[in-house]
Point group: C2
Chain length 138, copies 2
DNA sequence: CCTTGACCTTGCCATTGTGGTAAGGTCGAT
DNA sequence: ATCGACCTTACCACAATGGCAAGGTCAAGG
């Protein structure tokens, strides 16, 4: 099948499929005489795997590792689990960070009347060291 | 003060201060005869405001709006609150999305023995339509 | 046989926020 | 005069994705 069909079937845009090929996440596909990329059901299977992994928030780099484990018949499931647990931790950290932001901001917003007056606890909060919300960069 | 001191005092890197100036988030600063940027306490105040806002996860674009409201003595606090509530929603959405990922992945990881065997429910999960985790892009 | 529309190709630019690096100017102290 | 610490600008990079442009291809219908 052509890239358009593969895109529709896998849920990954044609653009991205080409990109994944370009960065070596997937192998270069076969080509028709005219140079069109051709995908097999097996290729589609791989694309779907990538799609699922992206949906769970894995980075392309992590997916590269997942793919090689996936294709390695002799892998140890502990290696996969380690990767998964690491990602869970990343997700947890991010969730914690965002929740802290959310709560601080919610507190400020609650105090704010939100009327026509200029007095605003939100701006006042930002003006002070409310930045103490030790938010780490991603 | 020079940019280095302003950076240290505000917690924003010199690099970023220049960048913020470049994109028009802050006004161009005064310059010494030699071309060095010079910052007043007032400028520092602004930088700290930006730092706080970034810590709460506001985008530079949102901060641009916050700054203009902050500097507008006649603003209505409702405008600020609207901005804040919108951002809270963004945070909530993101948290929800990440939590869904986390929970799905956690479920898979729990089922995985994580031993030397090749059998791995995590990979099996990715292989199937576990991508049903309707994760929206950011 | 030719046109039209839908598809494919490559390549380059933009995004968001931040870091790095390089080549050079300046300043204060020794 | 020179050294180290600072400043300047101007590029490149990241991650993952979208968009556009200029051109080739293919199948259907006239």
């Amino acid at each position: 099948m052509n890239i358009g069909e593969a895109a529709k079937a896998s849920g990954i845009s044609a653009k991205m499929i080409r990109h994944y090929e370009g960065i070596g996440l997937i192998e270069e596909s076969r080509r028709s005489a005219a140079g069109y990329r051709i995908y097999s059901n097996n290729d589609l299977h791989t694309l779907s795997f990538i799609k699922s992994s992206r949906s769970l928030g894995f980075s392309l780099d992590q997916i590269k590792q997942l793919l090689s484990l996936w294709q390695d018949r002799g892998r140890a499931s502990s290696d996969v689990k380690a990767l998964a647990l690491q990602h869970i931790k990343e997700l947890d950290d991010k969730i914690t960070e965002l929740s802290a932001m959310r709560n601080l901001l919610q507190n400020l917003a609650t105090e704010c009347h939100g009327d026509n007056r200029a007095e605003c606890p939100i701006l006042q909060g930002l003006e002070q060291q409310c930045g103490e919300a030790k938010a780490k960069k991603t």
